[in-house]
């Protein structure tokens, strides 16, 4: 299998290739159409606006108290017997997990779905140290078999259709080709079941970390999360520091928003609340539970009152499901762990604007993402803010700020400013454009590869209004 690598630097080329692939176009369109309908139907006659408002407020309150809540979370987790580790960046978080594995002579790690572990490239790090890491979420498992990365944060293998999945299972595991999803699922399940039993360590993500009680909540559908966190003797949960919520009662509204926004489900098949390792009188569960809290640029986002809203995200993926750009180009095109609108406002902080400069502009600012966001992140405003950082003078606190600032473009906008603040010159300009309309080019770069060129009208609105007003008294007299 040809391993493809994607990078945000190559957004344009990757978009070009994705757009030219009927398979990618069809897979995403079909999947996103389905997800949009499911979300719409499941909210039905709920007062969605009130629920989104509540969700936004819960997240805002948690972020407002973030430093305190993290301390409280640590204290309560430790009191429950969950060991808490802090990591400033992805590299450090990988090291913490690797050292925990090495100290226990662990050779085999089974993983529940975790986007933070993707963000910090945990699998590659563990494998370099001779520790095997196997994904147990079905989509992640397929993507890993296919030597790819997830193309969606909730549905990692959404870019693949049934035939492609059958091909992967055939090539990598020897399963006979089939179109029967149940047969494929059962085959994967049989493979994974053995690995759950043999794994030395289970690594999972966290959806909500409850400060009040020191509880880690994990939302999933396949039961692989429960297996990962209960079968191996050691469970390591890893999450970004922003995932903390204040109280247990904050969880139900966020959970209601998360499942409905993500997959259109009223509830998921599993909802795990992990509050301690195995107790003395208990027969199962891990002997050790660890929580790794990863910063990786989040503190820097937290410093900025506007960008801070990025951290409200509960990772439902609704913004990508509703994004007309994501739907066309798919997740891999972005070249980032988090694709789509949330990725375009988060990735610049994680990877810097030099790497990700084409992402904030990869949006028509249609507002669909902001409209469906369950915690009301003003995604379009944040895209504009990052555009501003890209072309600004580089004093912002986003890494790589100012990277897109060029003399030519600054001059062009200064020219626009001059013209639009000198009305007489503006009117003359528009009038001249109208006079020369016959000479206007019929080809205007890429615009005219797909559309005819707009042609200035012979008479501007300014001129038309003048004529109209000159006629008016005469018309009134005649009446």
């Amino acid at each position: 299998m040809n391993v493809q690598t994607f990078t945000p630097r190559e957004f344009h080329r990757q978009a070009h290739e994705a757009l030219a692939s009927p398979q990618i176009r069809a897979n995403f369109r079909k999947a996103m159409d389905g997800l949009m309908i499911k979300r719409r139907d499941v909210f039905g006659d709920w007062d969605l606006e009130a629920l989104r408002e509540l969700g936004a407020n819960i997240r805002l309150r948690a972020l407002a108290k973030l430093p305190d809540l993290l301390e409280q979370l640590e204290a309560n987790c430790e009191a429950n017997g969950i060991r808490v580790h802090w990591a400033e960046d992805g590299e450090q978080a990988c090291r913490v997990i690797r050292e925990l594995c090495e100290a226990r002579n662990a050779r085999s790690v089974i993983k529940g779905k975790s986007m933070v572990s993707e963000e910090m490239h945990l699998n590659a790090h563990l494998e370099a140290a001779g520790i095997e890491a196997l994904e147990s979420d079905l989509g992640e498992y397929l993507v890993q078999l296919n030597e790819q990365t997830p193309s969606h944060i909730i549905m990692p293998a959404i870019h693949l259709n049934t035939d492609e999945i059958s091909g992967i299972l055939h090539d990598k595991t020897g399963l006979e080709r089939t179109r029967d999803v149940d047969i494929m699922t059962a085959a994967a399940r049989a493979q994974l079941r053995e690995r759950f039993m043999a794994a030395d360590v289970g690594v999972s993500g966290v959806n909500f970390a409850v400060a009040e009680t020191g509880t880690l909540c994990l939302v999933e559908n396949e039961g692989n999360g429960r297996m990962t966190t209960t079968v191996p003797p050691v469970h390591i949960a890893v999450t970004g520091i922003e995932k903390v919520v204040e109280q247990l009662r904050d969880v139900p509204p966020l959970y209601a928003l998360l499942t409905r926004s993500a997959t259109g489900q009223h509830v998921t098949t599993y909802f795990n609340m992990i509050s301690s390792p195995r107790q003395e009188e208990e027969h199962d569960g891990p002997k050790e539970v660890h929580l790794v809290l990863v910063d990786n640029g989040r503190s820097r986002i937290y410093q900025d009152n506007e960008l801070l809203d990025t951290l409200r995200c509960i990772r439902c993926g609704a913004c990508m499901n509703h994004c007309p750009v994501y739907t066309r180009v798919g997740g891999h095109t972005y070249g980032t762990t988090y694709p789509g609108p949330i990725g375009s406002i988060l990735s610049p902080h994680l990877m810097g604007l030099e790497e990700t400069q084409d992402l904030p502009t990869a949006s028509s600012l249609c507002g669909a993402c902001g409209e469906v966001c369950p915690v009301k992140i003003p995604i379009p405003d944040l895209l504009v803010r990052l555009r501003k950082e890209s072309v600004g003078e580089g004093r912002g606190n986003v890494p790589g700020a100012g990277v897109k600032r060029t003399r030519k473009e600054v001059a062009a906008w200064k020219g626009f400013q001059w013209l639009a603040t000198h009305p007489a010159a503006w009117r003359s300009g528009v009038a001249v454009a109208g006079k020369l309309r016959a000479l206007m080019p019929t080809r205007l770069g890429p615009w005219t590869d797909y559309r005819t060129a707009p042609r200035p009208a012979g008479t501007s609105l300014h001129a038309l209004v003048k004529q109209h007003q000159a006629k008016k008294p005469a018309r009134e007299e005649s009446q």
Partner: protein, 251 residues
């Protein structure tokens, strides 16, 4: 969806802010908007020094330049008359982004005040004029594309269709994924031409598949994009601004 907005009673006068795209490319749409308002007995003031709301610079991240341009527009509407804009995009800029653009500056209060009396044309015709229309055209099917700014930023998904519903001989046809963006997005179409093209291709096909020879929109950016695509493909489907359509059928 959006909070209930309280609309004023029909005023004696309004300001008309034509927008730069209308000024240069679709002036008839602007004039037709003015005629519709005048027919309701409203005196329409057209400040001669209007240029552009500043949105292209704003969405491109050039906020100092956008602010300078916007500041020049703030001076154009000294009397407390409503400001009617035949575009959800420019209207959205003035209503929602002017206040944040000028926050903390000497113009803050003026920007806030101005934002409060900006109305998109179809919104104004429906909610303030309570427009009644006598359709003089023949039986026709038409599709409507409501711009994303009108639909989401200004919360005006219903006003365009509501006006078309007042035309007795016109049937508004359903189109697939009507709420999806046409791919214009101002500088987006320039910076990501291929993605934009894929979007407008789908939009043009959806309108054509709706079984109509005509579509209307309340934003000239979308109009330029979708009609340009249809023309490029030598399709017979024609587009126009909703103001022109309403005026043409009722005058």
């Amino acid at each position: 969806m959006t909070p209930v907005k309280l609309y004023p009673t029909k005023p004696d006068k309004v300001y008309f802010y034509g927008t730069c795209l209308v000024d240069m490319f679709f002036p008839e749409a602007g004039l037709d908007g003015i005629r519709l308002l005048e027919r309701e007995g409203i005196e329409v003031l057209f400040p001669e020094d209007q240029t552009c709301c500043g949105q292209p610079a704003y969405t491109s991240g050039y906020h100092d330049e956008a602010r300078a341009v916007a500041a020049a527009q703030l001076d154009l509407f000294p009397k407390p008359w409503p400001i009617v804009v035949p575009s959800g995009s420019c209207g959205g800029m003035m209503r929602t982004h002017y206040p944040s653009l000028f926050a903390g500056t000497e113009h803050e209060a003026r920007a806030e005040e101005l934002a409060g009396r900006v109305f998109e044309l179809t919104e104004f015709l429906v909610h303030v004029c309570h427009l009644k229309l006598e359709d003089r055209g023949h039986l026709e099917k038409v599709a409507m594309h409501t711009s994303c700014s009108a639909r989401r930023e200004m919360g005006l998904a219903e006003t365009g269709p509501a006006l078309l519903a007042k035309l007795g001989q016109v049937e508004l046809v359903e189109q697939a994924r009507a709420a999806e963006c046409c791919g214009f997005g101002g500088t987006f179409a320039v910076r990501h031409p291929e993605v934009s093209a894929a979007m407008v291709e789908d939009k043009a096909c959806a309108i054509e598949a709706a079984g109509t020879a005509r579509f209307v929109t309340s934003d000239c950016g979308c109009l330029m994009n979708i009609a340009g695509r249809l023309e490029h493909q030598q399709k017979t489907v024609k587009g126009e601004h909703i103001a022109s359509y309403l005026w043409r059928r009722t005058s």
